[in-house]
Symmetry: C2
Subunit: 281 residues, 2 copies
C-alpha cells in the first residue's frame, strides 16, 4: 500500500513526521523534512526522491507535482494525502505549502566530498543559526561552490529552518560535518592538483579582501556568530583578509561575510582565468 | 521613584514589557525593546537612552552598565531590577542578557533623512523577514551607509528580531518607512548636489554588477524575499545590475544580495575617489 489518506491529528504517522522538526528525532530516524514544490523539484532533478510524500488534499494540480508523485511511487516510496491543517501541524507553518517530503539524511563525512570538484568551497565553524547555515548553502549554489563544510559544533543542516533557508541548495551543494582535527589533514593532504587555499576574514595581519591573491581551490571560512574564529584556526589560514568596516561594528553577519567574500573570490578567479586565457589565446 | 525591584511574574510592568514583543502593542506604546549591554552601550553612545532599564539581579558588575544606569537615572528614566527568569519572560529568550531597555520609537519619515549625508543607502521593498531587515541595518553600518529605507509593507524595524539582528545598527543607521509613491519623488527632487542613483539587482536589461558605473549617492534596492521587485520599480532604476548565478537558483537571500552589492558599490566609489585624487594630486 503506497498511497493513503490521513485525516486524524493523532495518527502515529503525523506524530512521527512532526517529530522530525526536533534534532534528536531526526538523528534517530536518519530522516529529514523538506517542504514546497520548488524545493522538492530541485531535489528530484538532483537525484533525491523523498521516501514519503505528503500532499495537501486542497492542492491545485501541477504537472511538476504529478511528476513527483509518479516518481515517488515508481521508486517504492509512499504518498500520503492529508488536510492543510495537518500539514501545518507537521511543518510548523501556519500557511503550509501544498507538499512536503521526507528524505533520508545524506552522508556528511569529508570523505564523501571531492576536494577538486570545485574552485570554491564554503567553510563554517561553530555556526549556530540554522538560517545562516541555509543561507550559506544558497549562496554556495549561486557562486558555484562545491559545498559547505561545517566545522566543530554547528547547527544541523537538516533542520527545517536550514533546509528552508537553503531554498533547495541542501540538495545541490555538498555538505560535510567534521571536527577541525579531521578537516585540516583532509584539506592539506597532497593529491596531485593545486594546493587548497584556506581563507578567512580577520582583523589580524590581514590584507584587503578586494582583489586579494585568491587561488583555487579556495576554501572561504567564517566563524561562530558571536565568537568569530578561534585564533589558532585563523593562524592556520593561507590568507587572512579584511573587509572595510566604516561604522561602529567590527563584524558582519556570518552568512553575509561568507557571501561578500565568496563573490569576491569568484570574481577574482574568473578574472585570472580570462587574463590567462587572453595571454594564451 | 526611579528605581524599583520586581519579583512577580504577574506584575503589570512585566506584562507591559512583554507585550512590546507584539507589533500592535509596540505601535500603541510607541516604544520598543532592545537587549544586551553591547547594544545598549551602542545606543547610549549614539545619543539614545532607554526610558526604562531592566537589570537582572544576577548580573555581574560592569563599568559600562554602571554608566548606563547613571545616565538613565540622570535623564529622568527608571531602573528596574528583576530576576533572570522574569527577564527571560520579557525578552522571550531562555538565556537572557543581563540588561534590557525600553526605547521610544524614532521618527521614520523620509523627511527625517538627509539624502546627501552619505554616499550609499540601502532600500528594501516589502521585506518580510525581520532578521533580514536587521542584517541589512548591520551591513549598512559596516559599509558606511546613511541608512535603510523600507518601501511598502516591510517587517517592523523595531521588532525584537530586527533589533537583535541589527547588532546595534538600529541606533546608528537612519531608518525610514515610506510607500513607493512617496519615495520616488523624495529621491528625484533636485537639491543642488549630485542626482541620486537608484540601483537594483535584476535579470532584465542588466549590466554585470562588478565594477558597474555606480555613482554617489547610490541607493541599492532589493525586493521582497519571494517576489523580488515589482517590474515597475526595476524600470524606475537608473542602473540594473546582474550577479553571477552559477548554480540552479536565480536569486540570493535579500540581505545577502544587498551586502554583496553594497560592498561592490563601496569599493567602486572609493576606487573612483582615489583615481580622481591621484589625477588631481
Amino acid at each position: 500500500m503506497n498511497r493513503r489518506q490521513i485525516t486524524g491529528f493523532s495518527n502515529p504517522t503525523v506524530k512521527a513526521l512532526r517529530a522530525l522538526r526536533e534534532k534528536k528525532h531526526r538523528k534517530a530516524a536518519g530522516r529529514f523534512l523538506a517542504e514546497g514544490l520548488r524545493l522538492l523539484t530541485d531535489a528530484r532533478e538532483n537525484g533525491h526522491l523523498p521516501e514519503l510524500l505528503v500532499l495537501s488534499d486542497a492542492r491545485d494540480p501541477h504537472p511538476l507535482l504529478g511528476a513527483l508523485e509518479r516518481d515517488v511511487i515508481a521508486s517504492g516510496g509512499e504518498v500520503i494525502e492529508t488536510t492543510p491543517d495537518i500539514l501545518a501541524k507537521i511543518t510548523g507553518k501556519s500557511n503550509p505549502q501544498a507538499v512536503a517530503g521526507v528524505f533520508r539524511e545524506f552522508d556528511t563525512s569529508l570523505a564523501a566530498l571531492n576536494r577538486d570538484a570545485a574552485n570554491i568551497w564554503l567553510v563554517a565553524q561553530a555556526l549556530r543559526d540554522p538560517g545562516n547555515l541555509g543561507t550559506m548553502l544558497r549562496t554556495g549554489d549561486a557562486i558555484g561552490a562545491g559545498g559547505l563544510i561545517l566545522i566543530d559544533d554547528c547547527a544541523d543542516p537538516f533542520s527545517v529552518e536550514a533546509v528552508r533557508a537553503s531554498m533547495g541548495a541542501i540538495f545541490t551543494q555538498g555538505v560535510a560535518q567534521a571536527r577541525w582535527e579531521e578537516f585540516e589533514p583532509w584539506l592539506r593532504e597532497p593529491r596531485g592538483g593545486a594546493s587548497p587555499q584556506l581563507v578567512a576574514a580577520s582583523l589580524r595581519e590581514a590584507v584587503p579582501y578586494r582583489a586579494a591573491p585568491y587561488a583555487a581551490p579556495c576554501f572561504v571560512m567564517v566563524g561562530n556568530e558571536s565568537q568569530g574564529l578561534p585564533q589558532a584556526y585563523e593562524a592556520a589560514c593561507d590568507l587572512r583578509v579584511t573587509m572595510p568596516m566604516r561604522g561602529r561594528a567590527d563584524s558582519l553577519n556570518a552568512a553575509v561575510a561568507a557571501a561578500v567574500l565568496g563573490y569576491e573570490v569568484l570574481a577574482c578567479l574568473e578574472d585570472d582565468r580570462s587574463k590567462r586565457g587572453s595571454t594564451v589565446g
